[in-house]
């Protein structure tokens, strides 16, 4: 079995502590920034070296994670995050807000393509030598020369009476005899979010797929400005409804780092219990949905049932089916009492027993496996190049998992098994989910057993000066990165959540070439990117 082998798929990147030396060797002058709090190390670099840093990172097999900006009049701070073998590294460059320019990192990391275009539209920073000049998030709701995340852009926006239709996005056409386009969405037949897919197909064979997202852009980052930390946590819980715990925890972690408070151990363990519960619920739903997309209704119904039971248990134990607003700044809003603990333990046992029957049934059903095997292959090389995260990466030979590789409390000293396969097809993406559920169930038992006693929430001290922090949490889709900047007085000056979907959506495009049209839905479901988490 090539799964669960130790270290399979771990990054070949160097240790985080060797990075300053490597930078010095490469002749990149850096200055460590202590005021960006968190587990990551942060360096200030010259804007002109933005590209060279990326080149050096690429050479050392580091992974590109995120880029975000912040308007601090009259400058824009741009921060990029990279992952080393055991932690994160942040680089910050400062550019002027009038005609600011940065060398693009996309030539070295294709994953940076859309985030940089997003930054360009939101702040008006120009990325030189960016390979793709097209707009990304801005449809027609605001003008080309308006930059919503700048301080001078009103929080209410400048809505037009009627938003003009967005019909001129220049998709990359395919040419040749018999080639045709299939536009799908943004409104879909199922009850799912909005996004547009443009296929270039020949007969039933897909030549290429291009996504056009941004239809559910809500201006979450702008909404966050001026909120207090409690309000921010509530907002973060709604960045993507299915990963409410992941996003809320990451936002709270960033705030807690920023103000420098250590929260009670019990609260951290409860947060981990919440996060694992969320992972289990979503994976259950996804396995069923993947089966439904290939017409295997039996499994869909069974897994929907399990998910429903799990969510009812969530409601009974934590007071909310989707676990919203349980994670609050300073801890959690609900304690686990003895009665609830036994309920949870019983639920874990039941689910474990049911899965022992159901999962092998899926893995061995020939008609289901025939559909899933070799469908939508994302090769390990492509997965690494795109920097995909979570279960998609783990099905394609990249096993990065924050809980194991850069653990935060309470995951330190816990043995986390990370399933990893190399085939990268739909079958493996389903199987990784199945494996992860079982790992999480065991983890839940461990977490419940050493639940420390004590308080579950601690009041945050008043914020007396500007402070900022970066949170890193392994959500169920993968690594979530959140940047929070608090002003003196405790109001949010800037909030940026990086949902894993930013990196996973492009992975879907990569796996579609050569797939036949009727197999696209199951590939899409096996990726299950969040539209809302991406569009913000």
């Amino acid at each position: 079995m090539n799964t669960h082998e130790k270290n399979l798929g771990q990054l070949a990147a160097p240790d985080i502590d060797s990075i300053p030396d490597l930078l010095a060797q490469a002749g990149i002058p850096t200055q460590e920034l202590p005021d960006l709090k968190g587990s990551a190390r942060c360096f200030l670099i010259d804007a002109g070296l933005w590209g060279s840093v990326a080149a050096m990172m690429a050479k050392n097999s580091m992974r590109w994670c995120a880029v975000w900006g912040e308007h601090c009049l009259p400058e824009i701070y741009v921060t990029a995050a990279f992952a080393a073998r055991n932690g994160h590294l942040l680089f910050r460059a400062i550019v002027a807000d009038d005609q600011g320019e940065l060398p693009s990192q996309t030539p070295f990391f294709p994953a940076a393509n859309r985030p940089e275009r997003y930054l360009q539209e939101m702040f008006g920073i120009r990325f030189t030598n960016h390979p793709d000049p097209r707009r990304w998030m801005r449809h027609q709701a605001w003008n080309e020369n308006q930059y919503p995340l700048r301080k001078d852009f009103p929080r209410a926006g400048t809505p037009l009476e009627e938003t003009p239709p967005d019909s001129d996005y220049p998709f990359i056409p395919a040419e040749g005899q018999g080639v045709y386009e299939i536009p799908v969405g943004p409104v879909h037949a199922g009850i799912i979010e909005s996004g547009h897919f443009r296929f270039q197909a020949m007969g039933e064979d897909i030549l290429s797929l291009e996504e056009h997202l941004g239809y559910v852009h809500k201006g979450i980052e702008k909404c966050a400005e001026g909120r207090d930390v409690e309000g921010l946590a509530r907002l973060a819980a709604r960045v993507s409804g299915d990963s409410t715990v992941g996003h809320a925890w990451a936002a709270c972690q960033a705030c807690e780092y920023a103000v420098g408070i250590t929260i009670p151990q019990r609260a951290l363990v409860i947060r981990a219990i919440l996060a694992e519960s969320e992972r289990i619920a979503n994976h259950l739903g996804d396995i069923g949905a993947c089966c439904n997309d290939v017409g295997f209704t039996f499994a869909q119904i069974q897994f929907s049932r399990l998910r429903e039971l799990w969510q009812r248990q969530n409601a009974a134990v934590f007071g909310h089916r989707l676990l919203m607003d349980v994670v609050v700044p300073g801890g959690v809003s609900r304690d686990i009492l003895a009665a609830q603990e036994s309920l949870l333990r019983k639920g874990i046992e039941t689910l474990h027993r049911e899965l022992e029957t159901l999962l092998p049934l899926l893995y061995e059903n020939p008609s289901l496996q025939d559909r899933l095997r070799t469908t939508g292959v994302l090769s390990p090389a492509k997965a690494r190049e795109r920097g995909v995260l979570g279960y998609i990466a783990r099905a394609s030979g990249e096993s990065w998992d924050l809980r194991r590789d850069a653990p935060y409390t309470p995951y330190q000293r816990k043995a986390i098994t990370v399933p990893c396969y190399t085939e990268g097809d739909c079958r493996r993406r389903v199987q990784v989910r199945g494996d992860e559920i079982l790992v999480s169930l065991n983890l839940l038992v461990t977490l419940l057993s050493d639940l420390p006693s004590g308080e579950v929430v601690k009041t945050l001290p008043p914020v007396t000066r500007d402070c900022s922090g970066v949170g890193f949490i392994e959500g169920w889709r993968g690594e979530i990165i959140v940047y929070v900047h608090l002003e003196a007085g405790g109001r949010v000056a800037r909030y940026f959540p990086r949902d894993p979907s930013w990196l996973n959506w492009p992975g879907l495009e990569e796996m579609i070439g050569g797939v036949i049209v009727p197999d696209f839905p199951v590939c899409n479901k096996s990726v299950n990117g969040s539209y809302s988490g991406h569009d913000l």
């Binding site: 045709y180 386009e181 299939i182 536009p183 799908v184 037949a189 199922g190 039933e204 089966c291 997309d293 290939v294 017409g295 295997f296 209704t297 039996f298 119904i301 069974q302 049932r305 059903n365 008609s367 289901l368 025939d370 559909r371 036949i516 049209v517 009727p518 197999d519 696209f520 839905p521």
Partner: protein, 314 residues
């Protein structure tokens, strides 16, 4: 009893009970999957609801799009009228033999696929292209199965074939087994069931039959759906009466007719159960597997024909 009157009443009965057959399969499927499920008569409610709704036509729709539901529905009814249900004493069967029956079904399909392409959406065109691909492979297999049965009875008249089979001794002919299997495989493909098509899906990209009727609404959609249910019932009747002709009345005597009605209901019930079990245990096939599946159907039918010629011709 007048044969013609009987034929009309019988056809009307089938038309009326077809939604129940479709609803029954769905209900059984739900029960097998531990679901509550809509009652078997839900399709009637749906048809009623649709017939009351406004018809929304695309600007690009031509007259083909508007007449297609009526053509498809009425041609399917005509096809139903030549299939013996309770009794083989069916004067309409003499008007159209199995070849014409297949022709009727093709005519309906022709209009259905034209309608799919008419509005000019990519989903409709995709559905039509898939439907035609599949039926071009299914039709030869279907005809081959029918020919084997016809050679047995030395007639292509469906009534004669059924009468011949039901009067024959209970010896199992290899040709009958092979062609029955071929017929079942074709029927599953032609009625758009799993593993070829999924009648319950909402995913446009995977649809075949549903993709062609995506643009329909109101009474047009009701007719198209009703026609699809009729087609399911038609194939079911062919299967149960050709493979197990037991109980089909050979006369028009009330006693025989009653027995025929009871036996055909039981057989349909069993077939519905069979369909529900298959659809629960199977995932939908990859689209490009369909030719292999239909190739198998053709080979089975061909084997039936050959075993008839080699083993059974005296």
């Amino acid at each position: 009893m007048n044969g013609w009157l009987f034929a009309i009443v019988q056809t009307l009965c089938v038309v009326f009970f077809a939604p129940f057959m479709a609803g029954l399969v769905k209900w059984m499927k739900c029960k097998l999957q531990n679901r509550q499920g809509p009652p078997p008569w839900q399709p009637y409610r749906n048809l009623l609801k649709l017939s009351r709704k406004q018809v929304v036509l695309a600007d690009t729709a031509s007259f083909v799009f508007r007449i297609a539901p009526y053509v498809v529905f009425s041609v399917t009814i005509v096809a139903v009228s030549v299939v013996p249900v309770i009794s083989v004493q069916l004067p309409t069967a003499a008007l159209a033999d199995v070849i014409v029956l297949v022709g009727f079904l093709s005519l309906a399909r022709f209009f259905l696929s034209l309608a799919g392409m008419d509005v000019g959406t990519s989903f409709g065109g995709m559905g039509s292209s898939r439907e035609v691909t599949i039926s071009s492979l299914a039709e030869p297999a279907l005809l081959m199965a029918f020919f084997t049965l016809a050679m047995n009875a030395s007639s292509t008249n469906v009534s004669t074939v059924i009468a011949h089979l039901s009067q024959g001794s209970l010896i199992l002919y290899p040709s009958l087994i092979f062609s029955s299997l071929g017929l079942i495989l074709v029927a599953i493909a032609e009625t758009g069931r799993i593993p070829i098509d999924n009648p319950a899906t909402h995913l446009e990209l995977t649809m075949i039959h549903e993709a062609m009727i995506l643009e329909y609404s109101g009474r047009h959609l009701a007719l198209m759906e009703w026609a699809a249910m009729l087609k399911l019932t038609l194939y079911s009747l062919l299967i149960v009466n050709l493979i197990v002709p037991l109980g089909v009345a050979l006369t028009l005597r009330p006693g025989d007719l009653l027995l025929g009605a009871v036996s055909v209901s039981c057989k349909l019930l069993l077939l519905a159960l069979f369909l529900a079990v298959v659809e629960t245990a199977q995932a939908k096939m990859r689209l490009f597997r369909a030719p292999q599946y239909l190739g198998l159907a053709f080979i089975l039918s061909l084997l039936g024909m050959m075993s008839h010629i080699i083993l059974e011709v005296r």
